[in-house]
Symmetry: C2
């Protein structure tokens, strides 16, 4: 079996997780030459307001497109974090929106306030999903920021390109800080100050 | 094994097939109480401009979310029709956009000029995917027009609700005509005249 990388993006309905999944899948599938399957599932429970989108990346054709054990789990609210962290691989990466996730169930996680950043820096809390995408491109090597921007700009409404580009950038900046802090073992992965 | 219904929406990139897949999946999954998995896959060939979205509907949890033998195949261009008609079940339903599909490979098909209808009736060829969704709600019993409209209106840009509602209606009208003609065995599933 070749390389396979399983991603789940989770949170509540209305946080734009499906758009995130599509943009991430297109960025990797169309611009990085890999095989990608992107899935969302709905069941009777979906009406409760939980939402998730999955992206599976491989260097060969994907037989089973649902995410199995996760290499990357993004949680945009507490419930999704509680529900899904057990699906992570032992060395899987957990990234949470610390605006809403106050109890991170495992020690090794990146806690970045995506929604707060979107609200304070962009004046638009709804852009938190795009801030998170930008962060993912820095925290993992699964997608380049250039592919991500290309895919994103074909999927967003006309006139919102500048906002979305900035949201990606703010996410990357926040991720760089989180990586730096993780390196210095402060236990707090994000700081408010510009440094 | 319970009820399972496999759908593939296919055509070229830019025809809005992924949005169609999401709207159809949300309509069925959120408003009709069924289990639904919605998938798109990208591979090195995707850059050529082909696009497809799949929707699997079941009355129980879906283990394998990729479409298998198809109950419904929508083809928005000739290439997708040529590539995929063999994946239909013997009694599967083929629906084609006859604006672009000039050679239908099987006799039992609904041929409706979705793009022409969108262009002529709505002044917007891009709405062909929504016209096709409206038609699907009349040609199959997999989704009600009410669920479809509800799901659609949460996914389209603000200000475009009226256009999208009308696109659904135009699709339903065209489908009713096609059904009537199929019943009277004229061999031509769509007529231009209003009567």
């Amino acid at each position: 079996m070749g390389f396979r990388y399983d991603i789940r993006l989770s949170g509540s309905g209305g946080q734009g997780l499906i758009l995130m999944g599509i943009v991430l899948a297109e960025a990797i599938g169309l611009y990085e030459g890999k095989f990608v399957a992107q899935t969302q599932s709905y069941g009777p429970e979906a009406r409760g307001g939980s939402s998730k989108a999955e992206v599976v990346v491989s260097d060969e054709e994907i037989d089973y497109p649902k995410a199995l054990k996760l290499d990357l789990l993004l949680c945009m609210n507490q419930k999704s974090c509680d529900d899904f962290y057990m699906d992570l691989k032992p060395d899987g990466l957990l990234v949470v929106d610390s605006t809403f996730v106050t109890q991170t169930p495992i020690a090794k996680a990146f806690e970045i306030p995506f929604t707060r950043i979107a609200r304070e820096k962009l004046g638009k809390a709804m852009a938190a999903n795009i801030v998170a995408l930008g962060a993912i491109s820095k925290l993992t090597s699964i997608v380049s920021s250039r592919s991500l921007e290309k895919a994103l700009l074909t999927r967003v409404p006309k006139g919102s390109e500048q906002l979305n580009r900035q949201a990606l950038k703010d996410g990357m900046t926040a991720a760089r800080k989180a990586l730096k802090n993780a390196g210095s073992q402060t236990g707090n992965n994000w700081v408010d100050e510009e440094a």
